[in-house]
């Protein structure tokens, strides 16, 4: 046993000494054999850089570096020649996003029904307050080579990569490494190259953050904290993570993203902190080029394409999401589209299901229009540039590291196999090759018998062999050729009783064979095979698949979802004639009235209004025009809903708006034009709201945000906040008593914070910027408004008293199902109410909810809205308003206001929307029937004078989608027939998120 181990160690040492340079510091067991690996590779097509190529050139390398590339055919003295005639040489590829050699990252267990939550960091050392901030991680220290992974990368042409540990939000630094063998000392080219980030929890077992907007908040806070720490905060405590964070800010900054919206999200942070990230994308960039262009990002893009879907069975195929089918077709065109728009990008082999598909996918990208030059640049020069390694890697210029590949042909053509991958001047053979051209016909003479020996196949140095007699009768034959030696056996005839003739031989300089063998009787025989001169009639095997022409591709749709369109809806001048107008103003309901809309605004209301030629006239006869519905409480179009800090005031819903959510379109179909996208109700203090307009088709989340809306924030009371449905929870607060304590603590600290910030006059260390307290201070200063999830009267009363003691007002109580019990107090306080029409009894705190709640509060003079908190009910809010007519005899006009003007007032946007009034935005709905009736449907829903939904357009979109699906189904089946793998489909459910929804990403 011991002996064996010793031998192992010795072999390893010999191997390492032999294979490396510059390891002078290591003691070896033996005599040094530090070879200079001096080679001249001749007669090759050398691609010095993406734009420069030399035919019949010689590449000279020595001691792991490139010495020269030129047309000279002379081999320098002392260099060994490798004749690479007909071959291509490229700088080997560089992967700018790799986790090569890194330990695995186990997702942190921060969520369990059976144990209490971890509120604080779990690492006892002097690191950051949040375990997802790991700026102190250093890839070079963690790196251990892995021969399997390295081989897989060498096979597809990669020679080096930037590797880092993908753990957490701030992930520390990366190392530049090669895919060679040997000690880590020679594999690592550079320590601490870049600093890496992502919106990702990683291995953290600490509860906060759990949502995408939480990761954003945490990163933003970390930037502020790091700055504060450097400017003097260090006096208060030591934080090794922040020190590392600060030390790495001068490095290239890399941001890994989950999708195009994640990328745009990171770009927002970059803008705020004046950073320039290099973004790792996902291959879906083509879906929002317009937004991407605005910040001209440097990109690292994977070429992972979605699998075809099994659409053979028409019923099962119904589950294939339209957007996934579209992406399946368009994903390979992503890079071509990025190139066309002039983006800078590198190509990464990360995010692939298997590295082995890389070259195939790359070639498909080229087929789809990516230029070979750009592709090569994206694989070599660009990644080298991103990691500040242009002086060492990326081209085959003298002085650079001898990292290159030898390929059988142009690497982008189907025949372009990677034959060798050289790493720091070391040869790694991927596929055995030689200059032998064995193809042709040979006259085979065995003793006195004559046969024909034919070769066929694509590879001239390893063809298929076949012996026939009398020129046409094929004999069963088998041959192997290796290093000039051939073993050939074949049947003596075609009968059942045939015996085998076995030959062994060798190839001479002229390409002919001779050797010895045994005949069927076991006697030694001599043989020769002489190549016929006139052959070389290579039969081109043209199995080429039918090239797909560009016009067979579908178009990109906006947004990239079902009901997306190739053209975004445009603003129009519109005249709606002869209709019943519910003004929500003193004019009340006007019959037979016209409304003129221009440049997104209502400009005239009256009778007999004239339109010019450009104006679109919509006949409103028999129909009703109302202001668009506004949902005060919605969770549609969000990637996350809840984070979990007791005071989550630092998180912002605007960071997670999803413009692709088909529920936006569905709300438009229900007459909704705006909504407040609220944080969930997991915490006494929730996150900051996003108020949006339903501008379906706009892919940039920012464009959906309601212009100049005042900032809002979610608060919550009651069972969710107490974690009542989680018996193991130990988070404070567990009672309504604790909730009050949280508020008093939060606001008192926010007040002190605000004072300190305002009073700071440049003397002494600057007070730390705290995003959590800052949002609370805004509330105290009437700059941010509360929408508070609330149910029972005791807690409603409590929050009003807390607010009054800090001299501010609660803007809105949302849900507020027991508001009817304290409506008088609410009126006095100045709070508004946004409630469900008739939901109750789904949990204990709503057991006293009544459908007359809205009316009772309204009677006391409270501004009352009806909200949905539900993406289905959201599209029937007019009917929900009508329930107050049913249950409490509210007037119809007042009822309609509860879903239009009143929510506008509560959201403080009633100067812009909520009624049909000259000067207000044309966010209006034309209904087919009385707007409170269950029989009414929106015929047109407009936002800013733009028709985002109409029954007519809806029908057209459905038709187009049916046709497009049919085309894609055919194409997928075709692809599957041609060998593409297909996966079975399950329905993709939408984000039907509710207040209570804990979104753990």
């Amino acid at each position: 046993m011991i002996k064996l181990n010793t031998i192992g160690v010795v072999l390893f040492l010999i191997y390492s000494c032999f294979n490396t340079y510059a390891q002078e510091t290591f003691t070896i067991n033996g005599v040094r054999d530090d070879r200079s690996n001096y080679y001249a590779i001749t007669n090759a097509t050398v691609h010095i850089s993406p734009s420069e190529k030399l035919e019949n050139a010689t590449l000279v390398i020595k001691e792991g570096k490139i010495i020269s590339v030129n047309k000279s055919t002379s081999v320098p003295k002392g260099a060994a020649e490798i004749n690479a005639e007909g071959k291509h040489i490229y700088a080997s590829f560089i992967d700018a996003n790799s986790h090569y050699g890194m330990p695995g990252v186990k997702k942190g267990s921060f969520w369990s029904w059976s144990k209490p939550e971890n509120i604080g960091p779990q690492n006892p050392k002097a690191y950051n307050a949040n375990d997802a901030i790991r700026a102190n991680n250093n890839a070079a220290e963690l790196f251990k080579s892995d021969s399997k992974q390295a081989e897989a990368m060498r096979k597809i042409g990669f020679g080096s990569a930037l590797t880092y540990l993908p753990d957490g939000v701030a992930r520390g630094t990366s190392a530049l490494v090669t895919f060679g063998k040997g000690r880590a000392n020679t594999i690592i080219l550079e320590n601490q190259v870049g600093a890496h980030y992502a919106f990702d929890k990683g291995s953290s077992a600490q509860m906060y953050p759990v949502s995408t907007m939480g990761y954003v908040a945490l990163l933003r806070q970390t930037y502020y904290d790091a700055q504060w720490y450097a400017e003097g905060g260090k006096e208060k405590f030591t934080d090794l993570t922040l020190e590392a964070f600060n030390a790495t800010q001068s490095y290239p900054q890399f941001f890994d993203t989950k999708d195009i919206f994640d990328l745009e999200r990171a770009a927002k942070v970059a803008k705020e902190f004046n950073k320039r990230y290099i973004y790792v994308g996902n291959g879906d960039e083509y879906q929002d080029l317009v937004t991407l262009k605005q910040f001209q990002p440097s990109l690292i893009v994977p070429i992972s394409y979605p699998q075809a879907l099994n659409v053979t069975d028409p019923i099962d195929a119904m589950n294939a999401p339209f957007s996934e089918m579209k992406h399946w077709e368009l994903a390979p065109s992503n890079l071509a589209m990025l190139e066309k728009e002039g983006f800078s990008f590198a190509i990464t082999a990360s995010k692939l299901p298997s590295k082995s598909v890389f070259l195939k996918n790359l070639r498909l990208a080229v087929e789809r229009g990516l230029s070979e030059e750009k592709a090569l640049e994206a694989l070599t020069v660009t990644p080298a540039f991103y990691m500040n390694a242009s002086s060492r890697l990326g081209t085959l210029e003298p002085g650079k590291i001898a990292n290159f590949i030898i390929t059988s042909d142009n690497i982008f053509s189907k025949d372009g196999k990677v034959l060798e991958n050289w790493v720091r001047g070391h040869q790694y053979i991927i596929e055995k090759w030689s200059n032998d051209d064995l193809l042709g016909n040979y006259a085979l003479k065995v003793n006195n018998d004559t046969f024909t020996l034919k070769t066929s196949g694509e590879n001239p140095s390893s063809p298929k062999w076949e012996v026939s007699v009398n020129d046409s009768t094929k004999l069963e034959s088998k041959a192997t050729f290796h290093q000039g030696m051939i073993t050939l056996s074949f049947a003596s005839d075609t009968t059942k009783n045939a015996r085998t003739i076995r030959l062994s031989g060798w190839k001479d300089k002229n390409g002919n064979f001779s050797g010895e063998g045994k005949d069927t009787k076991g006697e030694w025989i001599s043989w020769t095979a002489v190549k016929a001169v006139t052959t070389n009639d290579k039969v081109e095997t043209t199995k080429k698949e039918k090239a797909e022409s560009a016009n067979e591709l579908g178009e990109v749709i906006y947004p990239f979802s079902a009901y997306g369109s190739t053209r975004i809806a445009q603003q129009e001048d519109i005249l709606i004639t002869n209709t019943t107008v519910w003004t929500n103003e003193n004019d009340g309901i006007l019959e037979n009235t016209d409304v003129l809309i221009k440049e997104g605004k209502i400009i005239k209301i009256g009778q007999g209004l004239k339109a010019n030629k450009k104006t679109r006239v919509i006949d409103g006869k028999g129909k009703h025009l109302t202001a668009g519905i506004i949902d005060e409480h919605s969770h549609i179009a969000l990637f996350s809903v809840n984070d979990v800090a007791v005071m989550s005031s630092m998180v912002r819903m605007e960071d997670v708006v999803n413009p692709n959510d088909v529920d936006i379109y569905r709300q438009l179909a229900g007459g909704v034009t705006s909504a407040q996208l609220l944080h969930g109700s997991a915490n006494p203090i929730g996150g900051q709201s996003a108020i949006i307009k339903m501008k379906w088709g706009h892919t940039n989340p920012e464009e959906l945000l309601f212009p100049n809306a005042k900032p809002f924030i979610k608060f919550a009371l009651g069972e969710n906040v107490k974690r009542s449905s989680w018996p193991m929870s130990h988070r404070f607060p567990q009672t309504r008593m604790g909730v009050e304590a949280v508020y008093n603590d939060g606001f008192a600290r926010a007040k002190a914070y605000d004072k300190a910030q305002k009073e700071y006059a440049g003397q002494g260390p600057k007070p730390r910027k705290d995003l959590q307290l800052e949002a609370l201070a805004q509330i105290l200063n009437d700059e941010r408004f509360i929408s508070c999830h609330s149910y029972v009267q005791s807690e409603i009363n409590m929050l009003m008293k807390v607010a009054e003691s800090f001299d501010f007002r609660v803007n809105t109580f949302t849900h507020i199902l027991e508001g009817y019990k304290v409506a008088d107090k609410m009126k006095k306080h100045g709070a508004g109410a946004s409630t469900f029409s008739d939901w109750w009894a789904y949990k204990f705190e709503v057991y006293e909810a009544i459908p007359q709640n809205a009316a009772l509060m309204a009677d006391q003079g409270v501004t009352v809205a009806i909200n949905s908190d539900d993406s289905e009910m959201g599209r029937r809010l007019n009917q929900e308003a009508a329930k107050s007519v049913k249950y409490a005899n509210m007037s119809e006009e007042e009822a309609l206001k509860m879903v239009t003007l009143n929510p506008a007032k509560l959201l403080r946007i009633d100067d812009q929307v909520g009624s049909i009034k000259v000067g207000k935005s044309a966010d209006v709905v034309l209904w087919t029937d009385h707007p409170l009736s269950i029989y009414a449907k929106p015929d047109y829903t407009m936002v800013d004078g733009t028709v985002y939904f109409s029954l007519e357009k809806d029908e057209q979109l459905r038709k187009e989608m049916t046709v497009e699906r049919a085309r894609l189904v055919t194409k997928m089946q075709e692809a599957i027939k041609n060998g593409a793998k297909a996966k079975d489909v399950a329905p993709k459910i939408n984000h039907h998120m509710h207040c209570d929804h804990l979104h753990l990403d």
């Binding site: 957007s323 088909v662 939901w839 949990k843 204990f844 249950y887 009385h930 029989y935 399950a986």
Partner: protein
């Protein structure tokens, strides 16, 4: 410890609330005097509308529908300008089994285990539920109360919604068995629904379990009674004799076909599909097998992003056009007072108003096998009906002012109207 405390506190809270607020109104006494409702517009639930007509009933039965009826022994109620409808029938509901959804101690809907054909919902039916009067006052007067847990969930019964106890409430005891067909898909993670669904590997195992149960039950039903019965199989006997119906709760198109073919293989006589979200894809099959459908929740979102935005609203129309008999049902006990508005929605999406009314009255009664007495207004049938000031399918106009079950005039008060009154009076002072 914590958990115990939590449950205890919830129970205490519950008791307090119940004692603090008013009781559920007393059930009405049996009809002892004839009643004439005069001058209303009668929608009989069979598709007929009688404008400005009279309906009379005595001893719980309808005695007259038409234009001129007078009998001095009857009390006359003038309902001019108002509308009369049959009381609505709510099938496959947990109303009365579930009081507060999130408080498990208040619920008796899910029994543990997969195969529980022997459990009977009706004995847990709480006639004192505060939820029932709120549903009743919107016109729902008859309910099929249904167990929900596992695969074979147990037997339902049909009750009327104004009774002192479950025994008095019974219209039809043990009317059917409920088979909750397994889903082919399950959610990736409840915390991250956007990750979509996964194809269930256990689906076929569960179907095999169903088949084995059916096979054993059929054989058992043909054998001689044993000293100690096998209660689960015993409870399925009625399915093979045709005395009870099998309600299969299933949404996916191919599963609907698979389920029906499987139960037919074991000679189950009467089958109803519940849910049936994708039934519109296999209408020919359903029609040729004469299967009726109880459609769950008209107010739903489409499942697939590319589905027609209004698909859930117009499914009833699609099934009706295919010649199928459809009833509507509601999956949430506390929201089931909105059942008539499901019918209103299907009107907005193409169904004729009287046909939509059938989907919550006579069709459902027919599917449940109680149409000899309930679900439509005909002389001789039970006087179970409502009077609304306006169109009852539209919340804008629905205002129910009278309701009768078997001729008994109900007290339409409920927890909500009482709380409303209480606080209105507080503010009016």
């Amino acid at each position: 410890m914590k958990k115990t405390y939590y449950i205890f506190s919830v129970i205490c809270g519950l008791l307090l609330t119940i004692t603090a607020s008013a009781q559920v109104p007393s059930p009405a006494k049996a009809q002892n005097k004839g009643i004439i409702l005069k001058g209303g517009e009668i929608h009989d639930g069979n598709g007929n509308v009688f404008p400005n007509a009279t309906i009379a009933f005595n001893e719980g039965k309808i005695t007259f529908i038409g234009n001129n009826f007078s009998d001095d022994s009857y009390e006359v109620i003038d309902i001019s300008g108002q509308k009369v409808y049959p009381g609505f029938v709510l099938p496959t509901s947990e109303l009365g089994l579930v009081e507060i959804e999130a408080v498990s101690a208040s619920n008796d809907n899910y029994e543990t285990g997969k195969i529980n054909p022997e459990v009977r919902s009706v004995i847990a039916f709480n006639t004192d539920s505060h939820v029932i009067p709120t549903v009743r006052s919107n016109g729902v007067l008859v309910e099929q109360v249904m167990p929900k847990g596992g695969i074979f969930s147990g037997r339902s019964s049909i009750v009327q919604l104004d009774a002192w106890n479950w025994e008095d409430a019974l219209i039809k005891e043990n009317d059917g068995q409920h088979l909750h067909w397994p889903s082919k898909y399950y959610s990736h993670s409840w915390t991250s629904p956007e990750k979509g669904l996964i194809i269930s590997k256990s689906y076929h195992q569960q179907v095999a379990l169903i088949e084995k149960t059916l096979m054993d039950a059929e054989a058992y039903s043909q054998g001689k009674p044993t000293a100690v019965p096998d209660f689960p199989l015993e409870a399925m006997r009625g399915l093979f004799s045709g005395e009870e119906q099998l309600f299969i709760h299933v949404d996916e198109a191919k599963s609907i076909v698979e389920a029906i073919q499987l139960v037919q293989k074991y000679n189950i006589k009467k089958v109803v599909i519940v849910g049936g979200a994708d039934a519109w894809l296999v209408t020919d099959f359903l029609k040729s097998n004469n299967i009726s459908i109880l459609m769950t929740d008209v107010h739903r979102l489409p499942v697939r992003e590319q589905d027609d935005v209004d698909l859930p609203y117009k499914r009833a129309k699609m099934l009706q056009d295919a010649g199928l008999t459809i009833g509507l049902t509601h999956s949430s006990p506390s929201n089931s007072r909105n059942l008539p508005f499901y019918a209103g929605t299907v009107v907005a999406y193409g169904v004729d108003k009287e046909d939509a009314l059938k989907m919550i009255t006579s069709n459902t009664a027919q599917i449940l096998g109680i149409d000899d007495q309930y679900g439509s207004l005909q002389v001789g049938k039970s006087a179970t009906l409502i009077v609304s000031q306006g169109d009852v399918l539209d919340m804008r106009t629905s205002k129910i002012i009278h309701a009768f079950i078997d001729g008994r005039q109900l007290d339409l008060n409920n927890k909500h109207s009482m709380l409303y009154k209480k606080f209105k009076e507080k503010y009016d002072e």
